[in-house]
């Protein structure tokens, strides 16, 4: 009996289905044959013997079927196990290979991680701003925020703010909506005495609860009967987080809690994580009318007053109603309401001039008509992070390619030994995917940390409480990682396909001819060009940010504090209130860290008041623009740092009973009396029958609400000549205002009666958010740009080093023939600089092409600024020179004998 070779088992090839059947048939055939033979030997005829043998066997067909099925099942499981083993083997091989070159692996993983991490971060942020619908909202596409559009001096202005009266008008008139809710959120003092703190309190109408699919954890939400003007019922729903953190999470239903000026009865607790339309959960929810009364201060009649715009409207459309028809119906109702307003509270500009319109827009504020620049910049930054990812992939592709070139001989040997090309390619791919997955994991970590950083430093108003990640961001990250792996892995795979076995295996296979890898050069040029683009962007945004920062505001925000009083139920008559505020002003001025203090009525970038003005000789002052009122003490201009250009500031002599005095801003003077003298003119404030206020001085322009386009129409009255008891204080500190805030607060708190208190805010807190978009752009573009440059520099270094190593032979010949170090270095440098020049040209072209889209995001600088382009171009050339210097130097130092020796 011979044995089959054991060696064959090592290379057992896949058994197909036909094989199994054949083998089983052969085995059974052998048996029956042997059996028949034996029977024939005992005397039977061959046919009879055959028949008997079959009979003795049993059911041959049945057995054959059973064995075949068994065999097939076995083949399948064997195949699967083999494939699994092959994959495991490949994975182990890949891991081993990566471990052997820790520098390479680390470089690739880090590069990919940075690219993927950047994308994950930006996507997470943009997702929050633009895409993710609020939680607890069923069918979010049916829900809209309402915006009102009015035309003033030719420009249409949209706002989501409106009055309670308007809300009532609309609610009575509209048919296309299943729910129309009013809402607002503000800071109110919650709690009593020492526990009192300002917290975010939402004020909502009962329909608000209908729109959100939230169920109270305890108790109930308030209903329509509790939301009736003038001030609603004192019931409140408190937030889950507030309940746990501040109230201990115990039994609180039917207990009282002080919110603002009233005591409210707690009737329910909102579910965990319920933040409605905002980023963080509110501490409490009170009825809309209660909130309106709180904010209106009791002098306002919510049910009739059109002019007090303090709330917003949220609607849910009925099934089948489109947003367009909803907008149309809203407009109709708004028009009708505006007509009622013109009748009830004249004077209002005519309807044809104002052209009121209403829009039903996205619930997300950043997708409505008043999208802030922050959102726009964030979207741009996604493009930027994609560019960084492309650069990272290009770089990784380069590195992988270089490695593949180095392994050419190994690949050739393996192919010669019989590994199928498919398996080899699969394995190379696996390596790239493994690196990409590691890169993805690194990217997630970086994004988590980076996201926190960005949130904390650049978008603090957003205040997200939960992590930036959710399944969508993770999905995008995974997608990016896979895409990166595919793209980066393509290069070496394509390279491996073209391996010429004989050439690679030849002994002494050093590359005799200088093979410039064209793919690698192209990749490198693209990388550098993209880096140029990013860095130019960074330069533009940095300059914009600096310009914005340098904008003359007309006052000194770093040194001014705004002090406001929160009376909390302490009712004082107007003149007593006035005395209190004067006392506060004197008290503030007496504090050690304070230079001067002044009363103030309005606050730039925060609160404004505008009333109608009447000027003899001018038909309609309102047509010329919106004039903001300000009133202050004689120390006002000194406190704010606003220069008085001509005439005099408000003085002590402008007392009650004395002739009314007014200081106007330079723009206002120009607008009302162009070319003429403003000082001495007469202005009537409020109505035509009021006494004249004489213009006594002209002050420099002050930015009231926007850094970029502000008409600056502002006028100043004497606080002593204004109805008593209004406004707050401006306090000018020695040194930075933010540092003195607490000291000032403590100093003034002692002067406040009863449970009332003072709020002290540095002016910078009101101004800074307006610069945020440029700050975000500047920071991120710079960070990404430098990142891209670093990655490109590393790529440049590796490519030059590779090229130099290829040319070792040639360069050594040169050295042997008498070339000096300097000559060799110059030779290598020339190559590198040629590459860099092409990259700069390409990058500049891309910048010029994209400039028209970037232009609106900038401030004070053109997108095609030649200085920045030149600076960045020169920078890249310098980096290229530096990156190629080391390999060049090393190439010139190699001993000719070493390099010229045969491999």
């Amino acid at each position: 009996m011979e044995r089959a070779s054991r060696f064959r088992r090592l290379f057992r090839l896949d058994r197909g289905a036909a094989d199994v059947e054949g083998e089983v048939a052969a085995e059974l055939e052998f048996h029956l044959d042997m059996s028949a033979r034996e029977l024939a030997a005992r005397g039977m005829s061959p046919t009879e013997a055959r028949r008997e043998a079959a009979r003795r066997f049993g059911d041959v067909d049945d057995t054959r079927r059973e064995l075949t099925a068994l065999g097939r099942a076995r083949a399948v499981s064997e195949r699967r196990a083999r494939r699994g083993a092959a994959i495991m083997q490949d994975v182990r091989y890949a891991v081993r290979g990566l471990r052997r070159k820790p520098g390479f692996t680390l470089g690739v993983v880090l590069t990919l991680g940075l690219g993927i991490g950047a994308n994950a971060t930006m996507f997470g942020i943009v997702d929050r701003l633009l895409f993710r619908p609020p939680a607890f909202l069923e069918r979010p596409d049916e829900v809209n925020r309402v915006y009102f559009v009015r035309t003033f001096d030719g420009t249409a202005r949209s706002t989501s703010n409106t009055s309670y009266r308007r809300y009532q008008d609309l609610r009575a008139d509209l048919r296309a909506f299943s729910d129309i809710a009013g809402f607002w959120r503000t800071d109110l003092a919650v709690g009593l005495g020492d526990d009192a703190r300002e917290m975010q309190v939402a004020t909502v109408s009962p329909e608000f609860w209908e729109i959100f699919a939230a169920r109270p954890v305890r108790g109930r939400f308030f209903g329509a009967a509790e939301d009736v003007p003038p001030a609603g019922s004192p019931v409140a729903v408190i937030g889950y987080e507030f309940w746990q953190a501040e109230l201990g999470g115990g039994e609180v239903l039917d207990t009282q809690i002080r919110i603002g000026r009233r005591d409210y009865t707690i009737v329910g607790i909102a579910p965990k994580g319920f933040a409605a339309l905002w980023m963080t959960p509110a501490a409490a929810y009170i009825p809309l009318t209660a909130g309106g009364a709180e904010l209106g201060g009791g002098e306002l009649d919510l049910a009739t007053e059109y002019g007090f715009s303090w709330m917003e409207i949220l609607v849910r459309r009925k099934r089948g109603v489109s947003a367009e028809s909803a907008s149309a119906e809203l407009t109709r109702a708004y028009l009708s309401s505006y007509e009622s307003q013109r009748v009830a509270q004249p004077p209002q500009p005519p309807t044809e001039q104002v052209r009121p319109r209403a829009l039903a827009t996205s619930v997300l504020r950043e997708r409505g008509p008043n999208q802030t620049t922050v959102a726009k910049v964030a979207v741009w930054l996604i493009g930027v992070s994609l560019i960084v990812l492309i650069i990272a992939c290009a770089n990784v592709g380069n590195l992988l390619l270089a490695r593949a070139l180095g392994r050419r001989r190994e690949i050739a040997v393996r192919l010669a030994l019989g590994v199928s090309r498919g398996r080899l390619l699969g394995q190379l791919f696996l390596e790239s995917m493994l690196l990409a997955l590691l890169g993805g994991a690194a990217g997630l970590l970086l994004a988590q940390w980076g996201g926190e950083l960005i949130r904390a430093s650049l978008l603090p108003d957003a205040g997200w409480s939960d992590p930036v990640f959710d399944p969508r961001v993770l999905g995008i990250t995974a997608l990016a990682a896979v895409a990166a792996g595919l793209v980066a892995g393509l290069a070496p795979v394509l390279q491996a396909r073209r391996v010429d076995l004989s050439a690679a295996l030849k002994a002494g296979a050093r590359e005799g001819t200088y093979q410039r890898s064209r793919t690698r050069m192209a990749l490198l040029v693209v990388q550098c060009a993209l880096s140029v683009v990013l860095l130019v962007g960074a330069g533009l945004f940095v300059r914009s940010f600096r310009n914005v920062h340098d904008v003359r505001l007309g006052f000194d925000p770093e040194q001014v504090l705004y002090v406001s009083t929160q009376m909390r139920g302490e009712e004082l008559a107007d003149d007593r209130m006035d005395q209190l505020k004067e006392r506060l002003r004197e008290g503030a001025a007496a504090l050690p860290g304070v230079e001067t203090a002044s009363r103030t009525l309005t606050v730039p970038f925060f609160q404004s008041v505008d009333v109608s003005l009447f000027v003899p000789g001018i038909d309609s002052v309102d047509r010329l623009g919106i004039f903001t009122m300000q009133a202050g003490s004689p120390t006002y201009f000194a406190t704010m740092g606003t220069r008085v250009l001509r005439g005099r500031p408000i003085a002590d002599t402008d007392r009650r009973g004395a002739p009314l005095a007014m200081v106007v801003s330079a723009s206002m003077a120009r607008t009302l009396w162009p070319g003429g003298e403003a000082i001495g003119r007469c202005v009537k404030v409020g109505s035509d029958t009021m006494p004249c206020a004489e213009v006594v001085g002209i002050a420099e322009d002050v930015k009231r609400e926007s850094l970029t386009d502000d008409a600056g129409l502002l006028y100043y009255l004497s606080m002593a000549q204004y109805p008593p008891g209004a406004g707050g204080l401006f306090v000018r500190t020695r040194g930075p205002a933010a540092e003195q805030a607490e000291a000032v607060r403590r100093g003034l708190q002692g002067l406040m009666p009863g449970g009332s208190y003072v709020n002290v805010t540095p002016m910078d807190d009101f101004v800074a958010p307006n610069m945020r978009s440029w700050q975000l752009g500047a920071t991120m573009f710079t960070a990404f740009g430098l990142l891209a440059l670093l990655v490109a520099a590393v790529g440049l270094y590796s490519v030059i080093a590779y090229n130099v190593s290829q040319r070792r032979h040639e360069l050594s010949v040169r050295v042997a023939l008498g070339a000096r170090t300097g000559d060799i270095v110059r030779l290598v440098l020339r190559d590198a600089l040629r590459l860099a020049v092409v990259a700069v040209a390409l990058g500049t072209a891309m910048v010029l092409y994209a400039s028209r889209w970037v232009e609106p995001l900038l401030f004070g600088t053109s997108a095609r600024d030649p200085l920045i382009l030149a600076a960045i171009g020169a920078g890249l050339l310098l980096v290229a020179a530096l990156a190629s210097f080391v390999p060049a130097l090393r190439a010139s130092r190699v001993h000719p004998a070493v390099a010229l020796r045969a491999d």
């Binding site: 009996m1 052998f30 048996h31 049993g58 064995l67 068994l70």
Partner: protein
Amino acid sequence: MPRDDLELVQGTLDLLVLKALTFGPMHGYAVARWVAQATDADLQVEEGALYTSLHRMEKRGWIEAEWGLSDNNRKAKYYQLTTPGRRQLRAEAERWTRYARAVFKVLEAA
């Protein structure tokens, strides 16, 4: 010739096949002949079941198979014991013996 064939309990067939293979690699027909001969033809193995048993045990790794050449130069599938197979044989034999002894003891008790 139909006889009083003692029906084999499932599992006992496996035991017999394994034992047969301790005498060296055999093809399926040889195993059948060996069992018949060793039991003095008391046990008649159903040949279909024999092959099923052989294939099952091959799948479980107790025996391994190779194609080889028979005495008369015909291609035949040869089976032989593996190390786990030997272990299995020892364990099964011991268990079967104990089982038989126990039954025997019961039957002997007059």
